[in-house]
């Protein structure tokens, strides 16, 4: 018949007449027959001939049908070889025995041709389905192995891009658990040339590879811009624009972005779509929330993106905790969620601060118990630390100097339409670091430029009083005023003059910054400093430490510093 291909069928029966009848019926259907006259013979013929279907008499000399069926099953392994018992046994117990021994069906004597033919057809279909299933299973296993292998390689690339930062710094603890090789959570951290640490935790919609793909442009933008000294808001804008362009609608990245200034002990935060991050104040043992105030990244174009940040003052030892919603949504066996309640409970128990991170991990793990982890889990802790504890270990390593700028000068003026939206420091820094040997000084140089620029902008052009920053309320107000005046600035300028000359053993860089502001009484200020009465604003003592000289000129709206540097390679040689 057309719907059943020719099969090889083993017939084992010790009664010759019965065998002949069966053989004739089976052959009539176009199948090939292999004959065995007892159980042992059946097992031997099975391994020699590898038939597709086996018809076994239950009672046979030497080895009965039950024993033969067991051995045939073992020989067949994972291939499905249907075994049909030929029997005139009629009691239930014997029939059950047939099935227990590995039989798939019975055929009762006297043989009925129509029934036997139907059974062979049915079992052939089953056999074919099983064979197809095995092939598909093997394909799936093969594909899965291949996929995991590919993902493992891709992950090495991904990790190099995403985790090349300073997550290993002594003031950072982190845990990122992937449900798959790849993770929808992305965690990046890096130091700006100024020594400020920037940390971004992102949670992309979905899981695994599709979610992790968005992490690549995010991480490379982040690292590229942080190392060059771009401001948080610029980096946010760039990442948002990139994600908005490349991600399909409906895929986006909830993120918290923090910047730590270890010298001033301040922290700037932007949260778009992640659950509240926590600030743990060591002194008061209290928790303060950094609440999401913005849309996630990649949802709206930059024209609608809001980049206003929250500013916090921290003490050394204060800790910030970031997490994706995987922790909040961790479920125990009965389906309850860990939630913010679970997190707050950990803090409420007031463990020693250095154990909080581990306590949170324990609490979540214990809570989940035997339950299933159904989201990526990420937890990061960043401590406010003294600057020298952080900067030294993880400063980015720059390639060795090559010939470049030696003697040059540069004048550069920034006007309101520029400083409202654009941070000129990365540009200036990239010019300066073209000088061979100065690249390894970019941290100090960035700090000097940044301090001078922000003094010129904030106290000069925007006329802000740094005395405001001495109280917590004033601190917040200062930043509000700054944003407001910056928005409204229509006049004013900041002029940079840089000049450099190289010597064999190093060089000398002069930086002059002039602003359009009213200046200040710098003679009095310097006298106060000398008497130890000076307030700490303007970062001037710091610059004085780094530079050979610092002088205010004119009415105080003009400042000039000389930075002298020694070529480290020459020193080493």
């Amino acid at each position: 018949m057309a719907d059943c291909p020719a099969l090889k069928i083993l017939i084992a029966d010790d009664t010759q007449a019965d065998r002949m009848i069966l053989e004739s019926i089976v052959k009539q259907e176009g199948h090939t027959v292999v004959i065995a006259d007892d159980g042992l013979d059946a097992v031997q013929k099975f391994s020699q001939e590898q038939p597709d279907i086996v018809l076994l008499d239950a009672l046979m000399p030497n080895l009965d049908g039950f024993g033969a069926a067991r051995q045939i099953r073992a020989l067949a392994g994972e291939n499905l070889v249907p075994i049909i018992f030929l029997t005139s046994l009629t009691d239930t117990e014997s029939l059950v025995q047939c099935l227990d021994a590995g039989g798939d069906d019975f055929l009762q004597k006297p043989y009925n041709r129509v029934i036997l033919q139907a059974k062979i057809k049915a079992f052939n279909r089953m056999r074919e389905m099983h064979a197809t299933m095995l092939v598909q299973r093997d394909q799936i296993v093969k594909h899965n192995n291949q996929l995991i292998q590919e993902q493992t390689i891709a992950k090495q690339v991904f990790d190099k891009v995403a985790h090349s930062g300073c997550l290993d710094a002594s003031n950072v603890k982190h845990y990122v658990s992937p449900r798959a090789v790849f993770n929808g959570d992305v965690l990046v951290a890096a130091l700006r040339p100024s020594g400020n640490m920037m940390v971004l935790l992102g949670d992309f919609t979905g899981h695994g590879l599709p979610a992790a793909i968005g992490g690549m442009p995010l991480a490379s933008t982040f690292y590229g811009m942080v190392h060059k000294g771009f401001a948080l808001t610029d980096i946010l804008g760039e990442i948002n624009a990139k994600l908005k362009t490349i991600l399909p609608t409906g895929v986006f990245c909830c993120a918290t972005f923090l910047e730590f200034n270890f010298r001033e002990r301040t922290m700037t935060a932007w949260n778009g779509g992640l659950p509240d991050s926590f600030i743990y104040r060591q002194k008061s043992k209290t928790v303060e929330a950094i609440t999401s105030r913005h849309l996630p990244l990649g949802v709206v174009p930059n024209s609608q993106l809001k980049v206003d940040c929250q500013h916090f003052e921290l003490a050394v030892g204060d800790r910030c905790y970031l997490w994706s919603d995987g922790i909040h949504e961790a479920r125990n066996k009965s389906g309850d969620m860990f939630g913010e309640k679970g997190l707050r409970a950990v803090f409420h128990q007031q463990p020693p601060p250095e154990q909080i991170f581990d306590e949170i991990m324990h609490a979540v793990t214990n809570f989940i118990g035997d339950g299933e982890v159904d989201d990526d889990l990420s937890l990061v802790e960043i401590s406010m630390a003294a600057p020298d504890q952080v900067e030294s270990q993880t400063m980015p390593r720059f390639p060795s100097p090559t010939p470049g700028l030696m003697e040059w000068s540069l004048d550069f003026e920034v006007k309101p339409s520029t400083f409202r939206y654009f941070d000129p420091l990365p540009l200036l820094l990239s010019v300066i670091t073209e000088v061979p040997g100065l690249r390894s000084h970019s941290g100090s140089l960035y700090t000097i430029l940044a301090e001078l620029y922000s003094n010129a902008l904030e106290h000069g052009v925007l006329n802000l009083d740094s005395a405001l920053k001495q109280s917590s309320e004033g601190f917040a107000e200062y930043y509000n005023l700054r944003a407001q005046r910056l928005r409204n600035a229509r006049r004013g300028y900041i002029r940079f003059h840089l000049s450099h000359d190289s010597r064999e053993e190093g060089g000398r860089l002069l930086i002059r910054v002039v602003d359009s502001g009213d200046g200040f009484n710098h003679q009095l200020w310097i006298e106060d400093q000398r008497q130890g009465r000076g307030y700490s604003g303007r970062g001037i003592p710091l610059i004085r430490n780094m530079c050979e000289s610092l002088h205010y000129r004119g009415k105080g709206n003009e400042v000039e510093v000389v930075y002298r540097w020694a070529n480290e390679l020459l020193k080493a040689g």
Partner: protein, 101 residues
């Protein structure tokens, strides 16, 4: 999870009700509920009265609906949110993109 949709008698308003967990498994049904209409409604209402949970892929589906309804000029209302659902919408600041009631 079940998605039901009804159009007001004048055809101006489409209400999509989401029952149970609103997550990736609702993707097909949710899209079909607004893409299958011959005449586009003026107002879209997503009724969350029976919604127990919302995940980030559901937020993504809402963004797709917003795009479909005209992006910045769309009128998409999310109504009858329970506190849990509301909290997720608030954390994501989706109030900036949708009318949440």
């Amino acid at each position: 999870m079940a998605i039901n949709s009804t159009v007001s008698s004048d055809g101006a308003e489409l209400t999509i009700s989401v029952e149970g967990r609103f997550d990736f498994s609702a993707h097909q049904d949710f899209r079909r509920s607004y893409e299958s209409l011959d005449t586009p409604p003026r107002i879209y209402r997503v009724d969350m009265r029976e919604t127990t949970y919302l995940d980030s892929s559901a937020l993504g589906m809402l963004l797709l609906l917003r795009d479909h309804a005209g992006g910045d000029t769309s009128a998409v209302k999310i109504v009858n949110c329970n506190p849990d659902v509301k909290k997720i919408l608030t954390i994501s600041n989706f109030e900036q993109l949708f009318t949440v009631q």
